[in-house]
């Protein structure tokens, strides 16, 4: 079964979000999502400084078979991207929650995180699929 760390928040569209001590929000895709995609071979990340609004598509993850959009769970400004994914996209398969983080956002309203799913709720939502 897929790993769903309890300290993270999740979107129904399979992104995870973590509020860091410095107030930024780190975003990636869940273990369940990487397993569904299969071997990830290409990642397109947002531009640093881009203004993004919650639930808009900001990145693309391509497996051998298909391209999938990644949505930002929170509104704000992109402050960092994980450039190592460009040369090692398989990191998303191997370590989706740590080395496979995708981008960091300076959120305009951290309360948006409260609208996301808890690990239990996310586990339940993927069980229904």
């Amino acid at each position: 079964m897929s790993e769903i760390p309890s300290e993270l928040k999740y979107a129904k569209s399979h992104e995870w979000a973590r509020l860091e001590d410095d107030g930024t929000v780190t975003v990636g895709i869940s273990d369940h999502a990487q397993a569904l995609l299969g071997d990830v071979v290409f990642v397109e990340l947002p531009e640093v400084d881009a203004e993004v609004s919650a639930e808009s598509e900001v990145a693309v993850v391509e497996s051998v078979k298909a391209a999938s959009d990644v949505y930002t769970p929170v509104t704000g400004t992109v402050v960092a991207i994980n450039e190592t994914l460009e040369d090692a996209p398989e990191t998303l398969n191997n370590d989706p929650y740590v080395d496979g983080w995708m981008f960091k956002i300076e959120p305009s309203d951290t309360a948006e995180l409260d609208g996301l799913l808890s690990s239990d709720d996310y586990a339940e939502s993927i069980a229904d699929e």
């Binding site: 299969g38 071997d39 071979v41 290409f42 397109e44 693309v60 391509e62 051998v64 078979k65 298909a66 391209a67 460009e86 398969n93």
Partner: protein, 361 residues
């Protein structure tokens, strides 16, 4: 309704991720599809291809019927077990399906067509029997397994009887042989050496297990698609269909124009197309920047002409995106591919990117 092949239980036992493929519950991959791909390029892998449609054509007019049905000429076949690739066309010269036909004798051939096209193919083939003394029989009693890779023939040898090993020892490419309960042909869809084996459905599980024990890696539809695309082999429904001429699908070599009096279905339309010019061709593309070409993306030539990607993927062997594209006939060596509103340059090459483990581009 979802159909299951005789290997279905083996797939589940091996932990396959299953997908619906044209009404068949088939394995996409057992683990990493890229690993499966490399296994076939470097060693040996096997694919359940039992979902494909196997039809025996028998009767006094079997040969005449197939010379009418198929744009390639089965009249060229005279060695028992010999295989030929070809297409059946409609009256307007579009591709109804591509197929392999095996010759057993003048009154008995075996045709293998695609899985997703089964119903329309059976209807079409039946309709074309009018006036021919033939019978069509779908061989749902058979399972089919492709064992592919540089070590595929050796590893398969390990599970054969002495008699079967002798029978396949000198098998030439595109040649098959019936031996014991098996029909073993040196054909495939990966650009590697290997066999496609037809076997009684009830032996599927035991033959699968024996091949796993012999070190053959189970491979899913995911690896099958990247392997065939690297090999530059067409996929029906992507690279050609009923609206596409074989001349615009890199299949001109499968049309037997001689003898001129052989009146196969679609011949007149094809001759007209040849006179008028097709205007399009199917080429290979290699993306020169990062990104992945996908079917449906627009291709723009140097003079502004437009084409379309028919199949695209990331090539695990080359580490770059490769594709097949139908483009204007005058397309040069360089085109632009539209990927998510960006235009990226791609090099135009002959379809066929990897053969026998080696890069061709």
């Amino acid at each position: 309704m979802v159909s299951k092949t005789p290997f279905h239980a083996s797939h589940l036992d091996a932990g396959a991720r299953m997908v619906d493929f044209g009404g068949w519950d088939m394995p996409m991959a057992y683990g990493s599809q890229i690993e499966e791909h490399h296994q076939v390029r470097q060693d040996a892998g096997m694919f359940d291809v039992s979902h494909m449609t196997v039809v025996d054509v028998t009767g006094a007019a079997a040969r005449d019927y197939l010379r009418h049905l198929i744009a390639n000429d089965v009249g060229k076949l005279s060695l028992p077990g010999k295989a030929m690739y070809g297409a059946m066309l409609n009256e307007s010269g579009g591709v109804v399906d591509d197929l392999i036909v095996y010759y057993f004798d003048e009154n008995h051939y075996r045709v293998v067509v695609n899985a997703t096209t089964r119903d329309k193919d059976m209807a079409w083939m039946t309709r074309q029997t009018t006036g021919f003394d033939v019978a069509l029989k779908e061989r749902t009693d058979l399972a089919m397994l492709a064992v592919q890779g540089p070590n595929a023939r050796d590893k398969t040898g390990a599970i054969l009887s002495d008699e079967q090993r002798v029978a396949v020892a000198d098998l030439k490419i595109f040649q098959g042989v019936e031996t014991g309960d098996l029909f073993i042909a040196r054909t495939g869809y990966t650009g590697e050496d290997g066999y496609e084996i037809m076997l009684p459905a009830e032996q599927a599980g035991s033959i699968w297990d024996a091949l796993v024990k012999a070190g053959v890696q189970p491979c899913g539809l995911g690896a099958r698609d990247t392997l065939r695309l690297e090999a530059g082999m067409n996929l029906y429904g992507n690279d050609m269909d009923e609206s596409i001429s074989p001349l615009a699908a890199n299949m001109g070599w499968t049309i037997a124009w001689e003898p001129e009096d052989r009146d196969f279905v679609g011949r007149r339309a094809l001759e007209q197309q040849k006179t008028d010019g097709i205007g399009e061709k199917l080429v290979g593309l290699v993306l020169e920047e990062r990104g992945i070409m996908r079917a449906g993306q627009k291709v723009v030539t140097e003079d502004g002409g437009e084409g379309v990607i028919t199949s695209g993927t990331m090539s695990p062997t080359l580490g770059k995106s490769i594709a097949m594209a139908r483009v204007p006939e005058n397309a040069g060596d360089e085109v632009q591919v539209e990927i998510r509103n960006k235009r990226l340059p791609a090099k135009v090459v002959a379809p066929g990117f990897v053969r026998k483990g080696k890069a061709l581009v």
